[in-house]
């Protein structure tokens, strides 16, 4: 499960990620982080079985948690299956299927948005664009 964590001026100063790990023994993989002096945002990956528990810890500290269920969306009307997105995506979401059609393994998507700025057909978009 991928989670977007939004920290405010209070929560940004606390070691909440490590607290969550210590309390739940869940491994938390930080995929993206943008930490400022007064606020910050992160995308983290947590095993599905532990997700609820970890989310509870974050919420207890006052961190806003958004589950990233809708990943990058490919508009099949616009896509011509060139494959330009394939080498750009940092986590290899895109690949050709056996018919040379570009398919997206969206569960890997970390919402970085790089592909949306690269697609010449404007076929890629993120439902929630944060960070």
């Amino acid at each position: 499960m991928l989670l977007i964590l939004k920290f405010d001026s209070k929560t940004i100063k606390k070691p909440i990620i490590s607290t969550a790990t210590l309390e739940t023994k869940a491994l938390i993989n930080i995929l993206r982080a943008n930490v400022g002096a007064r606020r910050g945002e992160m995308v983290v990956e947590v095993d599905d079985s532990k997700a609820k528990e970890v989310e509870d810890v974050f919420r207890r500290f006052g961190v806003e948690v958004v589950e990233l269920k809708d990943a990058v969306v490919k508009d099949e009307e616009k896509c011509v299956h060139c494959g330009l997105c394939i080498s750009i995506c940092p986590v290899e979401v895109f690949r050709f299927d056996e018919n040379w059609k570009v398919v997206a393994d969206t569960e890997k998507c970390i919402h970085c948005g790089v592909c949306t700025k690269v697609c010449p057909c404007n076929a890629l978009s993120l439902p929630i664009h944060s960070l």
Binding site: V80, H81, C82, G83, L84, C85, I86, S87, I88, E92, R95, F96, N99, W100, K101, V102, K117, V118, P120, C121, N122
Partner: protein
């Protein structure tokens, strides 16, 4: 055993022609051999679908009342060339909209017209006795045009140089987005199914060859511009009114501009064993080069040679590391083109033609004859260099005495290790930091080389918001300085 185009056309008429796609033909020749394959197969359909910037449409709008001799004309705010007769114009696919910039261009106008949409036609003129009207605004659709003929000076590249980027920043190019430090490779062309790779001797593809152009019947009208086999190209034409939206696509290459992806298919008549053999070409026999777009020059350095088989595998090795590869052309759509052309021939809707003239199998791409390009060497001035242990005080004295703003810091061998500016020194003095220059210098110095064009040096200064670059040799020894002042003096003279 030899066949003629007339014989093949008779078979098409009788409905007993054997047509296969270029993809299928590879396997047939592999199994049966070229001789038998030539007997069995009459036509091989080849195809490509990719960005082809050198494309556009000639249009005739019909005459208004009172009539106008258009001096300038726009379609949905995209300017077309009308320096020809009164209401004729040529709209190029890469022309950008004057109001919407890079998000809409000539390609989008063409796509809108083919898709049945109306576009705004706006024209200006100086007015004459025979064409008194000076202004015109109206809406037109494709069916309102007398003629709409796609005429493309350079299409269907046989193969193309692949691209990568050695520099430390993202490049937005016509080859797509190139990640820094050899982060990816992009390539164009469909390799073994591409038309010209299947007839590299131009035996059947020549002037007058009937082709599939974006769903319509089109024709080869000559060699394309920059034709230089094995990087051969074709000039083609076709009736826009007969084209189908699914075989064309207006696209935006981020940071570069608008262009258009076109689907082109060419039928190759299998007249003899030799042609059968040439249509059996495989991706591992098609060689191109990966070139480095990190160098903003015409002659970009070759990173390595590569085959289309390697490129299509999705990964190539550069400097011992695996780099991911993206195509720019759509193999999926190229297949659709081949299948559609095959269907048209089998149904008796498409007949083959004998070229009326051969296309040259040789050609060279000459560089532009220029008045001589200005390079950094010709404008650089002497650099005042200092060693890293120079005191701030001493540096400030040098800056005032020599009347310079930049002091490159060099080691005992003259190798650049940093730079201090008058601003750095002033700041150090103001904050009472009176140590050595090595404490305040910038270590990551943006530099120029002596034979770099001045446009390139100017772009660096603009990008990094700096006013001078040390000029260094291959060992980073300082040879001089080039400043924005020197460049602006030079530009003022032009």
């Amino acid at each position: 055993m030899k066949k003629t185009i007339e014989e093949i056309n008779r078979k098409i008429e009788e409905g007993c022609v054997c047509v296969v796609t270029a993809e299928e033909m590879k396997k047939i020749v592999e199994e049966l051999g070229a001789e038998k394959a030539a007997k069995e197969v009459d036509v091989v359909t080849t195809g490509t679908f990719g960005a082809m910037c050198s494309s556009g449409v000639f249009m005739n709008f019909g005459h208004s009342d009172p009539p106008i001799k258009m001096q300038r004309v726009w379609l949905n705010d995209v300017e077309a060339y009308t320096g020809i007769a009164a209401v004729d114009a040529y709209l190029g696919v890469t022309q950008l909209s004057e109001s919407r910039g890079m998000e809409y261009g000539g390609a989008h106008v063409i796509e809108d017209l083919v898709g049945g949409k109306e576009v705004e036609l706006r024209a200006e003129a100086y007015g004459t006795d025979c064409y008194p009207r000076k202004k015109l605004v109206t809406e037109i659709s494709l069916e309102d045009l007398n003629q709409a003929v796609m005429v493309n000076p350079r299409n269907a590249y046989q193969r193309y140089k692949a691209a990568t980027n050695s520099s430390d920043r993202i490049l937005r190019t016509y080859m797509g987005t190139l990640l820094p430090n050899f982060g990816n490779v992009t390539f164009a062309g469909c390799g073994e199914v591409s038309p010209l790779n299947n007839d590299p001797e131009y035996r059947t593809i020549g002037i007058g060859t009937r082709i599939f152009l974006c769903g319509a019947k089109g024709y080869v009208i000559g060699e394309g511009t920059q034709h230089a086999p094995p990087f051969g190209t074709l000039m083609v034409k076709g009736n826009l009114k007969e084209m189908k939206p699914e075989f064309m696509k207006a696209i935006v290459m981020p940071g570069y501009g608008v262009t258009m992806m076109l689907g082109i298919g060419i039928p190759i008549p299998i007249l003899d064993e030799e042609i059968a053999r040439s249509t059996a070409i495989r991706d591992d026999q098609i060689v191109t080069e990966i070139i480095d777009f990190g160098v903003p020059r015409r002659d970009r350095p070759v990173v390595r040679k590569v085959t289309y088989a390697e490129l299509k595998s999705g990964k190539v090795e550069i400097n011992g590391e695996e780099v991911r590869v993206s195509p720019l052309s759509s193999y999926y759509m190229a297949r659709k083109v081949m299948e559609e052309l095959k269907r048209m021939i089998e149904k008796g809707e498409f007949f083959l033609t004998q070229p009326v003239e051969r296309i040259l199998t040789k050609g060279t791409l000459k560089p532009m004859r220029e008045r001589g390009i200005k390079v950094v060497k010709s404008v650089m001035t002497k650099a005042v260099t200092i060693p890293p242990d120079t005191s701030i005080e001493e540096a400030s004295r040098i800056i005032t005495q020599k009347n310079v703003n930049h002091l490159p810091v060099v080691d005992e061998n003259g190798v650049l290790v940093g730079i201090v500016t008058s601003w750095d020194i002033a700041k150090a003095v103001a904050t009472g930091k009176l140590g050595r220059v090595s404490d305040v210098m910038t270590r990551r110095v943006i530099t120029a080389t002596p034979d770099e064009p001045i446009e390139s040096a100017a772009r660096k200064m603009e990008q990094y918001n700096i006013s001078a670059l040390p000029v260094v040799d291959a060992k980073r020894r300082v040879l001089g300085m080039v400043t924005s002042e020197d460049l602006s003096k030079l530009l003022a003279r032009w």
